[in-house]
Amino acid sequence: MKSSALYIVVFVTAAIFGLNHFKFEVREVKNEVKQLERELKKEQNSLHVLEAEWAYLNRPERLQRLSQKYFTLVPLSGTQLVTMKTIPQPPQEEEPKIVPAARVVP
């Protein structure tokens, strides 16, 4: 038997094994991807439902009812708001000038 023929046979067998191995791995990864996509879809669905639920629980009528029940807050009136102009500012003091000693005329 020629050694080169043996080498070829060995190589071909190894290649077949390797190819199948990768094929199998790829199939596994593909399944993983499909599974992840399915889970993502489920989560997106949940998000969608939760978005609607959130909007329902946060409707103004319900928030008003709950705030009246649990808090003692009243509607804000305009007279409770002020602007900076209306707040009396402290008088601006003149900072004493720092004169370098060398410039002071004795």
């Binding site: 390797g18 669905n45 409707r59 103004p60 009528e61």
Partner: protein, 626 residues
């Protein structure tokens, strides 16, 4: 001996030589097929070697080296449109080229197999809060071909789903059909209970149903959908195509602000209760953009069960109702008189005696029996003064002005329920006079707000819209000059400072507006006590940002209003409450120091002179201090 050896040697040599040549030949003969074979094997082997090495190179390349950008997994898709991503590509496309925009949209948002496809897009308010969405629910149907004990099953179902009719369900289960609906759109709890019955033949089908988380708050604006999720009323119908567009899964953003919508709805409900009215309508609109921030019509309905609503609750008073607006219309009479220059703010008319034409008399509700200046005519809502004003303007100019303000055309808004105004044809002298104070012509509240916006903002027309950024920059023609706008603004403020609109004031917000009390037209003429009390207000009046309009249908005076049910007693306080609550929400600071201007001095002087019994126009020099 040597000769024989020589011969032997040569013989051997030749033998060897001949052997050699013979073996070489043999070898050549041998090597021919063998070498060919070897060559072929080598070729095939090299070919396979090449193929496999190519594959292994690719494998090594994919696993060992980092993937390039083209193969990267894209960022997760958000349900809200990313305005920053949109603009650069969109800038290349014309606004009306829908097909190209669709394609570009698809490219921008990488769609994955993990994305859910909704049958109908969401609708949100201007801040992204969901007001309409489609949720998956189970619909119950039965395969009755092998149904045992249908009556018992029907009774069990009735216990779980009280809304179904027992007789109908029983008949359906007995029918022997392979597919018959029992109830559509069950909630998960109901679905679980029905499932737990364990009746073979009862099946569920996943269907999407439209859900409105805000319930009746936006019922007239949104409308409702039918069984097949097609829009039947409101924006659901008007924008049905956009909502059903599954290629562009983007929520429809309304201009409505949910907080203001609730505020308006709450205050209107309270007013209707306080005054035992049969209905009310209100609008809050943004002046600069024409966007409608809140729109409410009472009574309203539950959009999940539109079949249970009656005609009155389904009726959108804001867009579909056509009413005689009453004194709020005097704003436009004033605007046209000032615009055409037939009068000025220092002029006036004699309102001491009622006007008699044909068979009827035009009176003032609160007569002063003297000459009234234009500010007084407007602030005291004098019908006599207004009629004298319009007599100087004339029919043709009145018609033209109202036409330019959009009062003769159906209203343009994103709703299928739109009112066409009713106006007299022919339009004679008497029509001109009555229309000047808001009777004899019926328009919708949206008409009124749209025209009001024109005369208090910039003098240019702008459409009202229910969609956020629904109004693109249009350069419309100028209807009134800036000077007229400024004067009208000042007069509206005076109504609230000194006139019938005093209860509409909210301290610090410089509210301006006009009250309206219109007698309703009922069968057989005007009903005496059935009124439409309204207040058309805006603030802050020196640069109006928001318009609030409230109209109450047939209010009845109560103890707090001393029996009065006019616009100033019913609608104006509602608007005042709305303004005081919405201004802090929108970040508008109150300005409590309102410096008096020339008009205040003019007003003070006219009052002083009226007390002294002096009447008629007087010179400005008498009251201007500097």
């Amino acid at each position: 001996m040597s000769k024989s050896r020589k011969i032997n040697v040569t013989q051997r040599a030749t033998k060897k030589a001949s052997l050699a040549t013979r073996s070489k030949k043999a070898v050549h003969a041998e090597q021919g097929p063998i070498s060919q074979c070897r060559l072929r094997i080598a070729c095939v082997g090299a070919f396979f070697f090449f193929c496999f090495s190519a594959i292994s190179y690719r494998v090594v390349e994919l696993t060992v080296f980092p993937p390039s950008d083209g193969d990267k997994i894209a960022a997760p898709r958000s349900t809200k449109p990313n305005k920053d991503n949109e603009i650069p590509l969109m800038a290349l496309v014309e606004h009306n080229d829908e097909a190209i925009r669709k394609v570009l949209n698809k490219l921008e948002k990488e769609v994955h197999n993990s994305d859910i496809v909704l049958p109908r897009n969401n609708i949100t308010d201007r801040n992204g809060l969901v007001v309409a969405t489609s949720l998956e629910t189970a619909s119950l149907y039965a395969d009755t071909r092998h149904m045992k004990r249908p009556a018992e099953v029907a009774a069990q179902l009735k216990k779980i789903l009280p809304q179904i009719d027992l007789k109908t369900t029983e008949n359906r289960l007995k029918s022997g059909r392979s597919f018959v609906w029992i109830k559509r759109n069950l909630i998960p709890r109901e679905q679980e209970k029905v499932n737990n019955l364990g009746v073979p033949g009862l099946h569920f089908q996943q269907e999407y149903t439209r859900v409105y988380p805000q319930r009746e708050l936006l019922s007239h604006v949104l409308g409702f959908v039918g069984v097949d999720n097609a829009g039947l009323a409101g924006i659901e119908k008007y924008e049905d195509e956009k909502l059903r567009d599954t290629d562009i899964q983007r929520p429809l953003e309304l201009s409505i602000d949910l907080r203001l919508q609730y505020l308006l709805h709450d205050q209107l409900t309270r007013t209707v209760q306080d005054f035992k009215a049969i209905g009310a309508a209100g609008i809050i609109a943004e002046v600069k953009t024409g966007e409608i921030l809140a729109m409410s019509s009472l009574p309203d309905f539950d959009p999940h069960h539109p079949a249970k609503a009656n005609a009155d609750t389904l009726f959108n008073r804001v867009s579909l109702g056509a009413y005689e607006m009453g004194s709020t219309f005097k704003t436009f009479t004033l605007a046209m008189a000032l615009e055409y220059g037939t009068t000025s703010l220092h002029d006036g008319y004699d309102a001491s005696r009622p006007i008699r034409i044909a068979r009827f008399t035009i009176n003032d509700t609160h007569p002063k029996y003297r000459w009234l200046s234009i500010p007084e005519i407007f602030a005291y809502s004098s019908n006599i003064g207004t009629v004298k004003m319009i007599q100087d303007v004339g029919i043709e100019r009145q018609k033209g002005f109202l036409q330019k303000l959009g009062f003769m055309d159906p209203i343009q808004v994103e709703l299928p329920e739109r009112a066409a105004p009713l106006y007299p044809n022919p339009w004679g002298q008497i029509n001109m006079m009555t229309i000047s104070y808001g009777h004899g012509m019926s328009v919708s509240p949206l008409h009124l707000v749209q025209a009001f916006r024109t005369v208090i903002d910039d003098g240019r027309n702008k459409r009202l819209t229910l969609l956020r950024d629904g109004n693109t920059k249009e350069d419309n023609e100028r209807i009134v000059s800036r000077e007229t706008v400024h004067n009208v603004q000042r007069m509206l403020r005076m109504v609230v400072q000194y006139g019938t609109g005093r209860q509409g004031d909210a301290p610090g917000y410089r509210v301006g507006g006009k009250t309206g009390t219109a007698e309703k037209v009922k069968a057989g003429g005007y009903a005496k006590k059935a009124m439409l009390s309204s207040f058309l207000g805006a603030f802050p009046m020196e640069d109006p940002q928001y318009i609030i309009y409230v109209v109450v249908d047939e209010p009845v005076g109560n103890k707090n209003t001393y029996g009065y049910a006019t616009g100033g007693w019913v609608a104006a306080p509602t608007v005042s409450r709305i303004i005081s609550q919405m201004a802090p929400m929108l970040g508008i600071a109150p300005e409590l120091n309102e410096a008096p201007d020339e008009m205040d001095l003019f007003w003070a002087e006219t009052q002083k002179r009226a007390e002294q019994g002096k009447s008629g126009k007087f010179h400005a020099a008498t009251y201007r201090t500097n």
